[in-house]
């Protein structure tokens, strides 16, 4: 970790990013005043070569000036992080091109920064801050407001389209409607107490969030997680990717009203949800992964059942994919729609399917190699076109890779001798920053954790996979027609809950 003066943060970040080779993976603040420090900004850079994160820290005196030169002009990926730093701590990134609120909407006062330690967790204060939407004006241009409550069963977000006829000229997304203050809510809790909250940051990324959090905790301990636990965890992680991707393959067709495939995809997803319940006792695989290992074993019956369902599922899934590609009017809609070019993907430090459909090979299972992924044989699926079709192709390819991985895990679990499933982590190191990463269905999910002197959570920062990809969505739609928005949106399939926390 390198600590610099706030004035030098931009320069140091420029060096750390190595001309884009090591993308900005997270940027967040921390209030360290309770233990004699000041306010701090941390930047994490994803270093695939070292299989590690490079960490940069700038410390500010709490009662002094909280301004510093914004990173956004040189690292566009910092744009939303800095808006969040402004909301949550009151930092002022100078020369930031767009310092509107992000997390806290109109009912909060301007000067309330909830993550400062001086505010208790349940501090309720009302105000009226401004949240203006970005729009384009000119002759013949008009705005289309959509949301936060949508027509279907989807999470809440407000989209403001600036239209030139049918074409979307500009899109501004107002998100964070489901902001529940989880990062503040876990402060003062032990990692064990915080776990049910972490599992409930997001439903569809429940395993990914839990796995990242548990790894961050385990890095603060001397103990090693048993191999068998890692096999079961990895099984759960791939099951999560599988049910998400299978469901999303059907769901993207909802963007064009292609009903047979929506229905087939949702049926296959349901079979996987039922397997989840068998595996973990919960259809979203909650309650399985705990710091130190896993909570319950998988027996032969369980493995047999998974094996059987997947065999049938793979066959049917291939049929669905065949049906999709054979439908020319569908392919027509998805090809060249919602393009993200490769350099945009790099500049925004995009992750997951979104990035890999635009030529990036970023996949934390390979790059960081957490858990036992190094032992497993799988390919990182990539495409270069960056359109809706490319994202569907990556997702389809990943379904087959996940099935391949699950088969390997089943045979490894069969050979694995009986043994402990969970290790006692003992005393955890305190006042030491720690991170954990996992690859959710939407890309890498990163947690940062620091414990206070008593072993209680001092700071947890959750950077879900959707965080870096949301700004990309607003760029992808530019120039396409507004009826394509649902399609483009679904091709990214981003979470709101994960982002909003």
């Amino acid at each position: 970790m390198l600590q610099v003066q706030p004035e030098n943060l931009r320069g140091a970040a420029n060096i750390f990013s190595a001309a884009g080779k090591n993308p900005l993976a997270a940027m967040f603040g921390a209030d360290e005043t309770l233990r004699g420090g000041g306010l701090a900004i941390y930047c994490l850079f994803y270093n695939a070569e070292k299989r590690d994160m490079d960490i940069l820290k700038a410390e500010f005196s709490a009662d002094g000036d909280l301004s510093y030169p914004s990173l956004t002009p040189i690292l566009p990926a910092a744009a939303w992080y800095e808006r969040e730093l402004h909301d949550m701590f009151g930092f002022i990134p100078r020369e930031h091109p767009d310092l509107r609120p992000l997390v806290l909407h109109e009912t909060f006062p301007e000067d309330f920064h909830p993550l400062l330690k001086k505010y208790p967790v349940d501090y309720q204060v009302r105000g009226s801050r401004k949240y203006e939407m970005l729009t384009s004006a000119g002759e013949g241009l008009y705005e289309v407001p959509v949301g936060p409550i949508h027509a279907g069963i989807i999470e809440p977000g407000h989209f403001r389209f600036s239209q030139a006829g049918e074409a979307m000229l500009q899109l501004d997304a107002k998100l964070f409607y489901t902001h529940r203050g989880i990062e503040k809510a876990v402060e003062g809790k032990t990692p064990f107490e915080a776990l049910p909250l972490v599992e409930r940051i997001c439903g569809a990324c429940s395993v990914a969030n839990t796995l990242s959090f548990c790894q961050a905790v385990e890095k603060l301990s001397e103990a090693d997680v048993p191999r068998k636990a890692w096999l079961i965890r990895t099984l759960a992680a791939e099951m999560e990717r599988l049910y998400n991707h299978v469901g999303d393959t059907g769901n993207v067709c909802a963007g064009v009203g292609f009903s047979p495939v929506i229905s087939m995809g949702s049926r296959l997803k349901e079979y996987l949800m039922q397997l989840n319940e068998m595996l973990a006792g919960n259809r979203f695989l909650r309650g399985l992964i705990v710091p130190g290992g896993v909570n319950c074993d998988v027996d032969e019956n369980c493995l047999e059942e998974i094996d059987e369902v997947l065999r049938e599922l793979e066959k049917e899934y291939r049929d669905i994919v065949h049906i999709m590609w054979e439908q020319n009017n569908f392919v027509n809609r998805i090809r060249t729609t919602g393009i993200i070019r490769q350099n945009t993907a790099f500049e925004l430090a995009m992750v997951g399917v979104g990035a890999r459909a635009s030529g990036s090979v970023r996949d934390s299972r390979k790059d960081i190699g957490f858990g036992i992924y190094d032992e497993l044989d799988f390919a990182v699926v990539t495409e270069t076109a960056g359109d809706v079709e490319a994202r569907i192709k990556v997702r389809v390819g990943e379904v087959y890779e996940s099935i391949k991985l699950i088969k390997q895990l089943i045979s490894k679990l069969r050979k694995e001798p009986e043994g402990s499933l969970c290790v006692d982590l003992g005393m955890l190191r305190t006042l030491e920053g720690s991170w954990g990463i996992s690859e959710s269905a939407r890309g890498d999910n990163l947690h940062w954790l620091m414990l206070d002197e008593e072993g209680r959570i001092d700071r947890l920062f959750v950077r879900s996979a959707s965080y870096p990809n949301w700004p990309a969505l607003t760029l992808a739609v530019q120039g396409d027609i507004i009826p394509d928005f649902p399609l483009i949106n679904k091709s990214f399939e981003l979470c709101y809950a994960c982002l909003d926390r």
């Binding site: 409550i149 902001h179 997001c202």
Partner: protein, 240 residues
């Protein structure tokens, strides 16, 4: 095109009867056996304070319970256990509603539902989405999701109510025509205790709008949601 028709015909009907019991590992309703000595360990460990000790035995508030299993793990007597049954099923059998009869009774009636995510983790929403898959096929009960509150008989709320969505919840409720029902779906909307009290949360759905029916679970399984919606159709019929 042929492949598509072939695939649809090959599967025939995949719709299943709804069932209130899951896999044997499922963490459903809690049962307390006789060897419980009322020590209260379960109550102390519960992350959402859903357990109180009453007359020497744990009483569970299913509006808050997130079915995490901590109380069961903590019980040294082994007296507390999860059954693999939905709590919702229990509520309905208590009122002597047999599923078969209930479904027949519901045919010929309809319920139009508007969903509102007031700050959920999205698992409740995904399960609600699953209701339209061919296995649960919600339409067979005469229930449909509609695009606008102005077309809805019932508002189905998921999630704790966040500060950023409080106004949206109020406005959506006001936009609905009378008679209207509100269902709180899942522990967050029913109990509002999932994340504790924070600066960003207003509470449960009932703190903002009148709630008529609550569905326990985190998330409630699709069968529970269907059962609750059928029960809601009954309540609505009474009010008409």
């Amino acid at each position: 095109m042929l492949k598509m028709i072939e695939a649809i015909l090959a599967k025939r009907i995949v719709t299943e009867n709804i069932s209130f019991s899951g896999h044997k590992r499922m963490r459903g309703q809690l049962q307390c056996l006789n060897n419980c000595d009322g020590c209260g360990n379960c109550s102390a460990v519960c992350p959402v304070q859903a357990i109180t000790i009453q007359d020497g035995k744990p009483a569970v508030d299913y509006k808050k319970c997130i079915f995490c299993g901590r109380c069961v793990e903590t019980c040294i007597q082994g007296a507390l256990q999860h059954s693999n049954k939905d709590v919702m099923g229990n509520v309905l059998t208590e009122t002597q509603i047999q599923i078969g009869e209930m479904i027949t009774a519901k045919l010929g009636r309809s319920l139009h539902v508007r969903h509102l995510d007031a700050g959920s983790c999205n698992a409740c929403d995904f399960e609600m989405g699953a209701l339209s898959n061919p296995i649960y096929d919600l339409h067979r009960f005469g229930i449909a999701f509609v695009a606008s509150p102005r077309h809805a008989d019932m508002l189905m709320v998921t999630g704790v109510v966040t500060r950023n969505l409080e106004q949206a919840l109020r406005m959506t409720y006001e936009a609905m025509p009378e008679p209207k029902l509100v269902m709180a779906c899942g522990a967050c909307a029913c109990g509002g205790a999932t994340y504790g009290a924070t600066y960003a949360v207003c509470g449960s759905a009932a703190d903002i709008v009148p709630v008529d029916i609550a569905v326990p679970g985190c998330p409630p399984r699709p069968s529970s949601m269907i059962a609750a919606m059928c029960a809601a159709a009954d309540i609505l019929a009474e009010r008409l």
